[in-house]
């Protein structure tokens, strides 16, 4: 009895710790429940979805949203959307090289002291659409498009939140809501008024794998891609996690057996 009360107290304390982190924010808006491929202890990134998500990011999101912490080479790392077993070094992966060539980056100074432009290489980081936050705000009606690098992990229930946000735009604001100039109505956004105009339309992106590019499909794909960008080592981490847990479990059994053997003749 004594033990069970304390145990219950501990579980309560632990779950309190869990809820403390997620309790805040996102209030006032209902999130859609959606399961993603990367959730759960066995979850991995759906590579096809992440590749499509990269297309969505590139053709739509990246005109406003930076992803400054991710390098182009990262797309070819193990666990990444364009990983190819034949090319363990992503800098040699032809897909990664081709992606890099789509970007132009500023380099320099050269021997004359001038900055110059050149095609990007896999080691370059994703170029940001704006020179600085002020320029980004000036082009977006005062709102700052957040950087994508950590966005999924920087919002409570990040994957569900971003999915809901992308799929909850409404053509008309509900009655009694006065939309401010340049704002759109989005029922998943706190307060309902969001500076970002609806970013996705049916068939906005022409998927090369033939998938129908509905708003829901593109949202699912881009969230998968963003989740990878925010947690690129997740698959490595979970794989290692299972090995560690199995190792510790066997170790615990050995220790329990040793404990019983050592204490065999002691009444306690």
């Amino acid at each position: 009895m004594r033990l069970s009360i304390l145990t219950a107290a501990l579980i309560a304390a632990a779950s309190l710790g869990l809820s403390a982190g997620t309790a805040s924010a996102s209030e006032g808006a209902e999130l859609k429940s959606k399961h993603f491929s990367f959730e759960g202890v066995f979850g991995t990134y759906d590579k096809a979805a992440a590749q499509r998500g990269f297309m969505v990011y590139q053709q739509s999101c990246s005109s406003c949203h930076a992803m400054s912490l991710v390098a182009i080479r990262n797309l070819g790392d193990p666990g990444a959307p364009f990983y190819d077993e034949e090319y363990p070094n992503p800098n040699e992966n032809p897909v990664i090289k081709a992606i890099a060539e789509m970007f132009t980056v500023q380099d320099g100074p050269d021997d004359e002291g001038d900055m110059f432009e050149r095609p990007a290489k896999p080691f370059d980081y994703f170029p940001s659409p704006f020179a600085n936050d002020q320029a980004a705000r000036a082009s977006n009606g005062g709102a700052l498009p957040p950087d994508f690098s950590m966005l999924v992990r920087a919002r409570p229930h990040g994957p569900q939140y971003i999915y809901s946000l992308l799929t909850s735009y409404e053509d008309e604001a509900p009655e009694g809501v006065e939309l401010r100039d340049g704002m759109s109505y989005n029922s998943a956004f706190a307060g309902g008024q969001i500076g970002m105009p609806p970013p996705l339309f049916d068939e906005l992106v022409e998927y090369t794998d033939g998938t129908h590019a509905s708003v829901e499909q593109m949202s699912n794909d881009v969230v998968t891609f963003m989740a990878w960008a925010a947690d690129p080592k997740m698959e490595t981490r979970k794989r290692m996690g299972w090995m560690v847990l199995i190792y510790l479990f066997i170790f615990a059994l050995l220790m329990y057996g040793s404990y019983k053997a050592v204490w065999k003749d002691v009444e306690h």
Binding site: R2, I5, L6, A9, L10, A12, A13, A14, L16, G17, L18, S19, A20, G21, T22, A23, S24, A25, V41, L69, N74, S149, M150, R153, A154, R155, P156, G158, A230, P232, K233, T236, R237, K238, M240, G241, W242, V244, L245, L248, F249, F251, A252, M255, Y256, S258, Y259, V262, W263, V266, E267, H268
Partner: protein, 428 residues
Amino acid sequence: MSGYSEYDPKSGFEKWLDARLPIVRLGYDTFIFPTPKNLNYWWTFGGILAVLLMSQLITGIILAMHYVPHVDYAYDSIQHINRDVNFGWMLQPMHAVGASMMFLAVYIHMFRGIYYGSYKSPREVLWIVGVVIYLLMMATGFMGYVLPWGQMSYWGAMVITNLFSAIPLFGEAITNWLWGGFSVDNPTLNRFFSLHFVLPFAILGLVILHVWALHVPGNNNPTGVSVKNVDKDTLPFHPYYTVKDAFAIVVFLMVFAAFVFFMPDALGHPDNYIRANPVVTPPHIVPEWYYLPFYAMLRAVPDKLGGVIVMFGAIAVLFVLPWLDTSKVRSMRYRPLAKLFFFIFVLACIGLGWAGAKSPTDLVFVTGTDAATGEHSGFSFLWFARILTAYYYIFFLAILPILGLVEKPKARPESIEKSVLKPTGEEA
């Protein structure tokens, strides 16, 4: 047991070394140490904490090799560790989750100490050293949380350092001195990094004192009855408790690993993945879960200075606990009333943690709704926290002193040996 040594150097080298530096004797006496034979699993958390401290030191030293304590680079350097450094994706969550695990273990360790009266004579100094360790852990954990320079890092540092501005007359000067400027900024981050690096070594030193102070009177035990006969009541720590502790440590490490590998973000706040921004205040500034009970106490008092006093007083009261508890009976196993109040105390601490995570105006339960405005009325977390804070203090300042005088304890076993013998009918 201090000064008592059973070490008998066998080889010539051991004898030679023992006459010059008796370090093998030190190790021998530390581990071949008479320990009550009836310790339960609540006694394994000391060993668990020692392992966690080592884990924090090792991961921390490696992280410090890659971390940059500068407001412009701190956030990026943590990202660099997680994205580019070999095994950085494992070390950084191990260190962050490890801090939570240390607090989880230390809270269990402290509740165990209170329940079994481990702070009572002759273990007062052992307990006080422990409280100092806990205090340093709080400071170290807080400064460590500032280092990633996310939104919660920055605003948490702002809230906590601002507490010192409540001190009359010198408050502002002290706060500016702590900041090294007129706001939380680069000098603050730099000194926090310096202190976060050095304090764990102070903790390590105090842990050695804690173990030393343990070895003088020896372990308390679940009955609270002192060791009467070393041969009958005790077992050598090694191998009996090294193996039992090892089992508990491995089980605890499984919990630790589950968090590190499968839910590294579960114990943190998503806002801390947003770069620190001095001009954007997060809607709710909340500390890490292990500070929440104290945060609730701070906000329970309408006056700022009063809140600070109540919060720090909650730790200060632990220092004098050995003299507040007037009962001569150590273990609450034999104190039915004290046991009841103790469990209420544990629930009060958890409730305070809950209140700390909520906004004071949130409602614990709703009693009615205003028909006109649709606003709910009910019992707010502010009052919930106030009642629990009052109970926290009453437990230490009134219940424990008075109970010791009025409570009639149950019969205790004559000795540890007697307490562990299974009742086998008439013979027992």
